[in-house]
């Protein structure tokens, strides 16, 4: 059994509280950037972003651009781990086209509701959002050509469990493309065990 720094369930509840706010009140101030200004900062293709409605972009709170090292291929089957209000899923949908498929996985009801209603508004029949955890995704073995994620794995207590699960849902030779934060200076052990610092 891996010695985890924090309790996974307690951390999930903290994350839900934080991202419930990002879903419902995307224009209030957070310790991170959000929305279109963040997408521009992270060098997304703004022609694609500008074509999306505000509802699809305003709750975006990623930390990097998972499409910057490799674009998706037409027809790819994609899983978006921690899809939030769906921003990266919609970017993925624009790259894989109608013959592709995108499944977003999230654990926050408010984010799932927002993502689903935006997908319906956009008429994106090839995008769906499922309730689930990064460690136990409701996806068949080897289903995905690509797994994307943005700013989510750092918020998971057991990162090895997440990577094992991503490997399970990817086909052999499939791609993992994710963005996340990393620190260049060591964080004190007591801070690593302070659950409030994980989301704040």
């Amino acid at each position: 059994m891996t010695d985890l720094l924090v309790d996974p369930d307690a951390l999930r509840e903290q994350v839900r509280i934080k991202y419930r706010e990002v879903a419902a009140q995307p224009h209030r101030s957070f310790h991170f950037h959000t929305g279109r200004p963040l997408a521009k900062r992270l060098d997304y293709d703004m022609d694609v972003v500008d074509a999306l409605p505000d509802r699809a972009v305003e709750s975006f709170a990623g930390v990097g651009n998972p499409f910057s090292l490799r674009s998706l291929e037409y027809g790819d089957r994609v899983v978006d781990v921690g899809s939030g209000a769906g921003f990266d899923s919609f970017i993925a949908a624009s790259q894989v086209g109608d013959s592709g498929r995108v499944v977003g996985i999230d654990m926050t009801d408010e984010m799932l509701e927002k993502a689903r209603s935006t997908a319906a508004e956009l008429g994106f029949d090839h995008v769906e959002f499922r309730d689930g955890l990064a460690e136990t995704m409701p996806i068949d073995d080897g289903w995905a050509d690509v797994v994307v994620s943005n700013g989510v794995i750092n918020l998971c207590a057991d990162k090895r469990a997440v990577f094992d699960e991503i490997r399970r849902v990817l086909r052999p030779g499939g791609w993992l493309q994710f963005a996340d934060i990393a620190n260049g200076r060591p964080v004190p052990p007591e801070a690593l065990r302070d659950i409030d610092l994980w989301t704040g």
Partner: protein, 43 residues
């Protein structure tokens, strides 16, 4: 950890100043926290 989990061809993109200008900037600077894009292929 990615290689231990069965991934190969790991690539990491350049750092991005994710928190610059946000209220979390001071904490990010203290620990040199930046955003990165990662890419790897399932073996």
């Amino acid at each position: 950890m990615l290689e231990e989990a069965g991934f190969v061809d790991v690539r990491i993109g350049p750092p991005v100043d994710t928190f610059g200008g946000a209220s979390g900037e001071d904490k990010a600077r203290a620990y040199e926290v930046y955003g990165y894009a990662f890419m790897a292929r399932r073996a």
